[in-house]
């Protein structure tokens, strides 16, 4: 062992940080990887259900439903940009700017949740789509749609709560740059998941004219 160490001291022999990250960040990455598998499994369940049902409905009119969900996508993408700016400001030690950027991020996320909920309510109340029933007699459509978008919305809401704690803490002089960065990782992941949900669930079901 000692002869090996004298030849080439390896990063992997213990006592050092081979990834050069702190534990919080590595923990968040592990969570993100496992959560991506959850979302992948749901999206594959959706794909399989759709492929096996030739009469799968296309319920989203280009105007207004697709335009509406595009605006939601815009909110989430922009909130990712403001989150990056928050991390950037915190890395440069500017706590005031960090809090403002996090609040902007939360505004984007909040807008997403409000728009999404109003879309849900319209689907449920006006078009009669629920998790178990819909006018097209393909119950799996409602089941998969509400499961995927519901789990995603839960993530956004959890992200908003998480960011509230971070913003309050940063404002009071608590937390380090890496804490903001870890919350940023979570927020970008929520955005990233939407980058797959939006095309697969909405754009593939668009109806023009």
């Amino acid at each position: 062992m000692s002869s090996q160490a004298s030849v080439a001291p390896s990063l992997w022999e213990g006592g050092r940080s081979p990834y050069a990250t702190n534990s919080k960040k590595f923990g968040m990455w592990l969570f993100i990887i496992s959560d991506s598998l959850t979302f992948s499994a749901l999206l594959f369940a959706y794909t399989y259900s759709r492929v096996t049902n030739p009469d799968w409905p296309k319920p989203f009119d280009f105007t207004p439903a697709i335009i509406f969900s595009t605006v939601m996508t815009l909110c989430l993408l922009s909130s990712s940009l403001t989150m990056v700016m928050a991390v950037h400001a915190m890395n440069h030690g500017n706590r005031g700017a960090t809090v403002r950027w996090i609040l902007a991020t939360m505004a984007g996320g909040g807008a997403f949740v409000v728009l999404h909920l109003s879309e849900w309510l319209k689907l449920i109340n006006v078009e009669g789509v629920t998790p178990a029933h819909n006018p097209w007699n393909v119950p799996l459509f409602g089941g998969t749609f509400f499961a995927i978008t519901g789990l995603h919305m839960t993530h956004v809401v959890c992200g908003l709560i998480y960011l509230t704690f971070i913003a309050v803490g940063v404002g009071r002089g608590k937390f380090k740059a890496e804490d903001v960065e870890v919350s940023g990782l979570y927020w970008h992941f929520v955005d990233l998941v939407w980058m797959f949900v939006f095309p697969l669930v909405y754009l593939m079901s668009a109806r023009v004219g």
Partner: protein, 105 residues
């Protein structure tokens, strides 16, 4: 050592982030345009998935700073993830055959 680590974490500039954001918006715009044009399903799905993977890569590399982390972190996390996701495709061929196996009365 700690100074070096800190330097690694402060990756990218405001200009880069803006460029990435504009690229993401542009790709989303292309996707929505494809939906409007009602492109045939298979082409549509291929292009959408391709663009989504590029978008995901941009978000992971720049917004999530993975480009500025050590390569070993990427190698620990992502090959396994991609392998597991690809494994979920295994039964897609069977799923696609099911509609053709329905009895016709």
């Amino acid at each position: 050592m700690s100074e070096h680590v800190e330097e690694l974490h402060v990756g990218g500039s405001t200009g880069t982030f803006m460029k990435v954001w504009i690229a993401l918006l542009a790709m989303t715009g292309i996707e929505v345009l494809l939906a409007y044009e009602q492109v045939p399903t298979l082409i549509m799905l291929t292009v959408l998935m391709g663009l989504s993977i590029v978008k995901a890569a941009l978000i992971i590399a720049y917004f999530m700073h993975l480009k500025f982390e050590k390569l070993s972190l990427f190698l620990t996390l992502f090959p396994m993830l991609i392998f597991c996701i690809v494994l979920m495709l295994v039964f897609l061929g069977d799923a696609a055959r099911i509609p053709n196996m329905r009895p016709t009365f």
